[in-house]
């Protein structure tokens, strides 16, 4: 039976975080984020799911030491995904999220507090986070660490008696480094620990059932009540001999459910004249399945934990991205403003999740795959 061992990384991470906290007060002067407003329209379409909506962000300095920010975000979901159509009914719902942030600069140290609330008809989440960053070595090095605590409530439509809690704790450490006049380098490490009801309450696993006409039957998923994950990433950005930049990133992920994942991102940024910036990007993602995942279990209650959530399966994806930014002429109180369009095309290919809609003998159905398109259209103004 799969077990969930304690994370081997949590203690070293806490030691590093403590160290960085000890160093943070050594301070002289830093820079708060710029005053800006963003209005974004987002749309995701793929795998029978369409999600779109707006996101609004406003950030404003108060005197030279403080900065406040507010973000409002909406997901309007229409889902007829392969999971939904095989074991439930298509649905529509809306998720709203609001965040408030406060930053304080003291010398070279920046303190950030934020609170985020998210609500939909069957899920409520509240998260509070605290981050500190500190510049060193003539502002060539920035070290940061943060902690976030989340309190979620999981509900189930049509079942007024169902309500379960999830607690989330996040520790993160980051390093941003100027290596040369043309090269930036960054490292980040994030540990997330969850405890509570971690299932999707609507999803089921399937198992072989000789009494069923189609050869298999469904039972509810059963997940462990704890999960601890670690992710470490390195990224770099280089200014080319002409005015353009390339960037790259690698992230390794591992968790106590047995999922290991790798992410690679590459990109090229090319300005055109004074007003245009074009982006070209590629992202590769690959993961192994959770220990308790199976597309088809041999019998009912085959093991203590059961999952057939395709997000926990073995799969890979490729994403191609195109982006364009147009800088508008100065206007009214806006010092600068841009209109931006990003188009992303992703291809998800699953190695052990089968499309049961195709029919056939259990376990011989074709492997599932889908393509998705993402649109981000937004206006940004600096004031």
């Amino acid at each position: 039976m799969p077990t969930v061992p304690p994370s081997p990384f949590s203690r070293p991470l806490l030691v590093v975080a403590t160290l960085l906290a000890a160093c943070a007060p050594v301070a002289q002067s830093g820079v708060l984020p710029e005053d800006r407003a963003d209005v974004l329209y987002h749309r995701y379409e793929g795998g029978g799911v369409t999600i779109d909506g707006p996101s609004l962000l406003v950030r404003k300095k108060l005197a030279e030491q403080y900065s406040v920010s507010a973000n409002y975000y909406v997901d309007m979901v229409s889902s007829a995904s392969v999971d939904v159509v095989t074991t439930a009914s298509p649905y529509t719902e809306q998720r709203q999220q609001a965040s408030l942030g406060f930053d304080m600069l003291q010398g070279k140290t920046q303190y950030s507090l934020s609170v985020t609330g998210s609500d939909e008809n069957d899920y409520t989440a509240t998260t509070a986070s605290f981050d500190v960053s500190q510049d060193f070595f003539g502002d060539l090095t920035t070290v940061s660490f943060g902690y976030a605590q989340g309190w979620d409530e999981v509900r189930r439509r049509g079942d007024a008696d169902f309500a379960e809690d999830v607690d989330r704790r996040t520790w993160r450490v980051g390093l941003s480094q100027v290596l040369t006049p043309k090269l930036l380098f960054g490292l980040s490490w994030e540990l997330v620990s969850d405890e509570g009801f971690l299932n999707n309450p609507y999803r089921s696993v399937r198992y072989l059932d000789p009494d069923a006409a189609i050869g298999f039957a469904y039972q509810p998923e059963i997940y462990p009540h704890t999960r601890t994950s670690n992710a470490a990433a390195m990224r770099a950005r280089y200014f080319l001999p002409y005015r353009a930049a390339v960037h790259g990133e690698y992230r390794f992920f591992t968790d106590t459910w047995g999922i290991d994942a790798n992410t690679v991102r590459l990109g090229y940024t090319h300005p055109w004249g004074e007003r245009w910036i074009f982006e070209l990007g590629y992202r590769w993602y690959d993961q192994g399945a959770a220990d308790f995942y199976s597309d088809l279990f041999p019998r009912a209650d085959a093991q203590n934990f059961l999952a057939r959530d395709k997000e926990l399966s073995t799969f890979s994806s490729h994403m191609l991205s195109l982006g364009a930014t147009w800088t508008l002429p100065a206007w009214s109180f806006l010092q600068r403003s841009t209109v931006n369009l990003y188009l992303d095309h992703a291809m998800y290919r699953y190695d052990d999740f089968r499309d049961v809609r195709a029919g056939g003998a259990p376990g011989t159905e074709p492997l599932y795959e889908f393509d998705a398109n993402v649109i981000r259209l937004f206006f940004s103004g600096w004031f």
């Binding site: 160290l19 160093c23 003539g138 470490a232 990224r235 200014f239 968790d255 997000e311």
Partner: protein, 77 residues
């Protein structure tokens, strides 16, 4: 054996080392940072758009975390 003491000693040594390094001469001078200050060198030029895309990934993938540069900077200002 109690392993707390060695950890505390390492922590103190590292903290002292970092504090001592505040006098290190910057190896990239302020006048050499023009390229780094160019918007195309920003690690996260559009935080709202980046945050949305990370949300898209986290909803469809098992991995999570370490996807942004929290509080990072390039020392350009």
């Amino acid at each position: 054996m109690d392993r707390t003491l060695p950890r505390v000693l390492v922590a103190v040594a590292l903290a002292a080392g970092l504090a001592g390094c505040s006098s290190v001469e910057p190896w990239v001078k302020p006048y050499e940072r023009a390229n780094l200050a160019d918007p195309i060198m920003s690690m996260d030029r559009d935080p709202v758009a980046t945050s949305y895309l990370n949300h898209v990934f986290e909803a469809r993938e098992g991995a999570r975390g370490a996807s942004g540069s929290h509080g990072g900077g390039c020392g350009c200002n």
